[in-house]
Symmetry: C2
Subunit: 180 residues, 2 copies
């Protein structure tokens, strides 16, 4: 790769477009940025919930569910299984869509599935410090990485208790952004 | 903007990444492409369904529901309302998520809402040849633009008849790609 130039983006509206985009002043490339899709799962095994402690920022050291960015030409279901393999060395059986959450600040749409372990093997992948199964009452609720992880656990619990069926969306009057 | 150079992308795997990306050989910019989110709505008014005849490719001349790409930092609900304003000059009241469809060939996730007209005004926007309200039996089913539009109409009808509640996902054993 040539190191003659660095990308030099400026905010301009391309002809015929309605929004400003990043356009490279060196080569004219228009960087159409789109919202990102996160796909993940709440994984049950023998009544317990699989959680991963994050080895990467943001929120390194905090607990989350296996989830990450959907890749091109991947179904969200395949993406959820891939993320569980990458982050928790776990093979999943998916049981349907649990929730669709949106985080406008991050331009994220999150698709969260219900899942179980195909076999009881799991281990920390590269992006996890540790992976563990928790009883409902033992989930480290004060060390959860993101609000949507709280929501997914609550919604999974409502399904298990037969209180609601889902798929769920953002709960009313609660922010998807961390409280600082 | 300088016209000295054009973007010159080559497929390479950046350090620490797991997938090949388009990297500009001129300036080193890594173009992380992500799946795209389409947001749209099935719009009812006095028992009829609002449809738009497409003025743009793909599928110019065919009928669709108001829908388009979600913009950065936009909620899918706001995006669905914006698309209805742009394509049908219509102001919507949204009534919840109807369906989440996925089209892996196009790397699309579609979020489709149920909606009604706030007031009975509508007209063809720039991307529409015409906009019309159809009784269920009069919908031009042989001139529908995309399979997911068929699905959304079927799922809306199931909700109206009380046969199912949704949100729905891709129906089993049916392709989201047009049959050629």
């Amino acid at each position: 790769m040539s190191s003659r130039l660095q990308p030099a983006f400026a905010r301009k509206t391309p002809p015929g477009d309605t929004h400003e985009r990043d356009i490279c002043e060196n080569c004219g490339f228009v960087n159409y940025e789109n919202p990102k899709i996160v796909t993940g799962s709440v994984v049950r095994h023998e009544g317990r919930i699989l959680m991963c402690r994050r080895a990467i920022e943001p929120r390194r050291g905090y607990w989350t569910i296996p989830a990450g960015y959907l890749e091109l030409h991947e179904t969200p279901e395949d993406g959820a299984r891939r993320e569980a393999r990458e982050e928790a060395c776990a093979d999943l059986r998916l049981d349907g869509l649990l929730a669709v959450y949106t985080v406008p600040r991050l331009s994220q749409v999150q698709l969260i599935y219900r899942a179980g372990l195909i076999h009881p093997h799991f281990a920390a992948g590269e992006e996890s410090l540790e992976v563990a199964l928790f009883d409902w009452d033992a989930i480290p609720r004060d060390e959860i990485a993101f609000p949507t992880v709280h929501w997914a656990l609550e919604h999974e619990r409502m399904v298990e208790l037969g209180e609601a069926a889902g798929p769920f969306v953002n709960p009313p009057n609660r922010s998807p952004d961390p409280q600082r």
